[in-house]
């Protein structure tokens, strides 16, 4: 019986450890997030996923983007009001609806010393547009007919038709300017990164860290202030929480559930911003009963979005339509929409009109990987019971979930979308009949017309009206049940200064210093 004694001791020790963790943990160790002994300012960040490769043209994973966006730059960029600003192009103009010319900043060099010229711009866009690159940005530039090098500092793009989102897409991180020489030397850009940005790529140790160092010859004087950034891979929320409390990292992202703990700690500051993401329920609109818009509307009316915000996001999420609030001028105030006024009687009426007085049985698919999605599914299940809809929850592992999303083999599916940086992505990409991410089988003539009009209208005010109508129509037809747009959080040591996250650029460290 000796081994049982040993077992008991271990279990007892474990329980004590558990209980010990649960108390108010004020003694969370001194923050040693100061500069390293040599006086170097290295910002250490807890990254919640291992980067999936560093090629800015092909890798959409957030864990990668946050790293390569420091190394690479695009011709243009967007500011916090989603307005275009110069980056590698110091100015641009549009002689006619289908032609754009960019004048490049002079004296910009890549991290390997090569000068950045109009040839590099042409090469980069051609690389994105080439079929074999399989770039995620390829569809952004389908309308580009030719790219012409006018002079070493001037490039001319000719489009096949008017295409309003063009400049927003040029400003995308995925339209980064790369060096042809580096691509040819390495075959691809997955393991290396040579750009023109404020930080240069130093090393990537798999499952451990990625190191960036300051680019001394950066074309803007006094930027960056930091000597380097190190991204430490910490997949587990509790590992990141522990690392930020003990000062092992200077900053990290945490889920809203952990925020009260970080706030209690005097050494830490919590910063948040309204994300461009929103949670949704996708309906397979070809399957009964979801092919009837009345059923979808009934569900929209039965759902309490505030409760989703309160329980799943601890109150830090706002109701959202297809274009979330963080998209500024493009977004409409959905709280005024009829479909967002919870009304059980009306919901039951609509169900009855659709022939489902007694409700029906269905299935809610969700990804087991993301607790917020599982929680949203459970809450919806409970809310829908009130109008007689009995849903069973099916949790899938991430790969299988993506498969289900792609081939539309679901009935209701809980997910989260990012609206991107142009309303064309929020509307056309997800909801036009031939949109690349329209996996719902949704097709509406008016939405298609509006999406097309939005793409070809240059005037901002007119474009805004077009997308306003599209949003209202989508909210009414409810091909997706748009739920809420959550806040995102960064937790940092108090000694990290000059850093403010925004929706368009959550991690801009140009001016950041460690005090």
């Amino acid at each position: 019986m000796k081994k049982w004694f040993g077992f008991c001791v271990v279990m007892a020790a474990l329980s004590i450890a558990l209980v010990a963790c649960s108390g108010d943990d004020a003694s969370s160790g001194e923050s040693d997030g100061e500069a390293t002994p040599s006086g170097e300012q290295i910002l250490k960040i807890g990254n919640d996923q291992e980067p999936a490769g560093l090629d800015p043209h092909t890798v959409p994973a957030h864990s990668s983007v946050r790293i390569y966006e420091k190394v690479y730059e695009s011709l243009l960029t967007l500011d916090e009001n989603m307005e275009l600003q110069p980056e590698l192009a110091k100015e641009w103009d549009q002689p006619d609806d289908k032609t754009y010319t960019f004048t490049l900043r002079e004296g910009v060099t890549f991290h390997n010393g090569n000068e950045m010229t109009a040839e590099d711009v042409k090469y980069s866009f051609e690389r994105i547009m080439a079929e074999e690159t399989a770039s995620i940005a390829k569809s952004y530039f389908d309308k580009v007919e030719s790219i012409e090098v006018v002079s070493p500092t001037k490039v001319k793009f000719t489009l096949s038709e008017t295409y309003a989102p063009f400049l927003s897409y040029v400003a995308s991180t995925n339209a980064a300017i790369v060096d042809q020489e580096v691509v040819e030397e390495n075959g691809d850009l997955m393991q290396t990164a040579v750009g023109t940005g404020p930080f240069k790529f130093e090393e990537w140790e798999a499952d451990n860290h990625v190191k960036l160092t300051k680019f001394e010859d950066y074309y803007q004087d006094d930027i960056p202030k930091l000597d380097g950034i190190t991204y430490l891979t910490m997949k587990d929320e509790s590992a990141r929480l522990a690392a930020i409390r003990t000062g092992e990292v200077h900053m990290t992202t945490l889920a809203s559930q952990s925020i009260p703990l970080a706030e209690k700690n005097e050494d830490l500051t919590v910063k948040d911003y309204q994300s461009t993401e929103y949670s949704y329920v996708g309906f397979n609109v070809n399957k009964e009963p979801f092919n009837d818009k009345k059923v979808r509307q009934a569900i929209s009316l039965a759902v309490d979005r505030q409760e989703v915000s309160d329980i799943v996001w601890k109150g830090d999420a706002v109701p959202s339509g297809p274009i979330p609030e963080s998209m500024g001028k493009w977004s409409i105030d959905v709280t005024e929409e009829e479909m967002y006024q919870q009304d059980m009687d009306r919901a039951k009426e609509l169900l009855a009109e659709a022939g489902y007085e007694d409700g029906f049985d269905t299935e809610i698919t969700t990804a087991s990987t993301y607790p917020d999605m599982v929680d949203t599914a459970q809450l919806l299940q409970e809310q829908l019971e009130a109008i007689g809809i009995n849903a069973e929850i099916r949790q899938l592992e991430w790969g299988e979930y993506i498969d289900t999303w792609t081939n539309g083999s679901h009935e209701m599916l809980v997910g989260r979308n990012s609206s991107g940086n142009d309303p064309d992505r929020s509307i056309g990409f997800f909801f036009s009949t031939d949109g690349s991410a329209n996996v719902w089988g949704f097709s509406d003539e008016r939405v298609d017309q509006l999406a097309e009009k939005g793409r070809t209208t240059i005037d901002t005010e007119k474009r805004r009206e077009i997308y306003n109508e599209a949003q209202e129509r989508l909210v009414d037809l409810s091909p997706n049940l748009f739920l809420v747009s959550p806040k995102k959080y960064f937790v940092l040591q108090n000694n990290v200064a000059n850093y403010t996250p925004t929706a368009n650029e959550p991690e801009n460290f140009d001016e950041t210093i460690i005090e």
Binding site: F7, L18, Q257, E382, I393
Partner: protein
Amino acid sequence: MGFMKEIINRLKQDKVGLVGVIGVALVIFIGFIGPFLSPHDPTEMYKSHTLEGPSAAHWFGTDEFGRDIFSRVIEGAKVSLYVGLISVGIGATLGFVFGLVSGFFQGWVDHLIMRIMDILFAFPDILLALTIVAVLGPNLRNTMIAIGIVFTPVFTRTVRAAVISVKEMEFITSAAAIGVKTHKVILRHVSPNILAPFIVQITLALSGAILTEAALSFLGLGIQPPDPSWGSMLNASRQYMEIAPWIAIFPALFIIVTIFCFNLLGDSLRDLLDPKLKS
């Protein structure tokens, strides 16, 4: 049955084993009667009482939806027992048949069966169960099938080894010699004499099955929400471990105690049934 009576008599003298028996009986009691005792519906959300600590209204506190943890733990006991009994039932039945055939006939049948079992054995339990659930789809029934398959090789080996040693004994060879039909030899003479190691294996496998179900549910592949199981409750609690530790502690405690009691019982049964220790 004299056999069972003897076991019970001997258990009475074994204090540690008795703790196991009482513990197991208690878990079974909770599993069957519990749902009638639980103060709340385990899936009912009291949304104005989310993440509340233990109180008179909610003895074990509430979770992020305001569901009563006590009622959920009790409901979870039912799930654990149910999964344990059915999946071990599947594994034990398959294992008994395969082991009997394999051990009695030997030769190529034995080779075929045992090599298949070796292949199954080569995979870690959880990995094999995960794969089976991933292929069949995550729900309670498939979880039980998966665990049953995972436990089949252990039972097959145990039964086969026992059959081989019994088969060579005189009473079997003489039965065969006087012309008793093969199936009668297997059923009447071999089977009853290999029960001891088989029963021990069942008790041990029960705790293994409960643990595997907890692990699968922890990974989101077992029982689907909002129905509770100890493993899925533990998984959901991870986000709130510090703010609301009771969400984690109670299901964890029940897993530990249950596994502990089943193992105690299995351990003393093994001692009791070991012929070498017979006084």
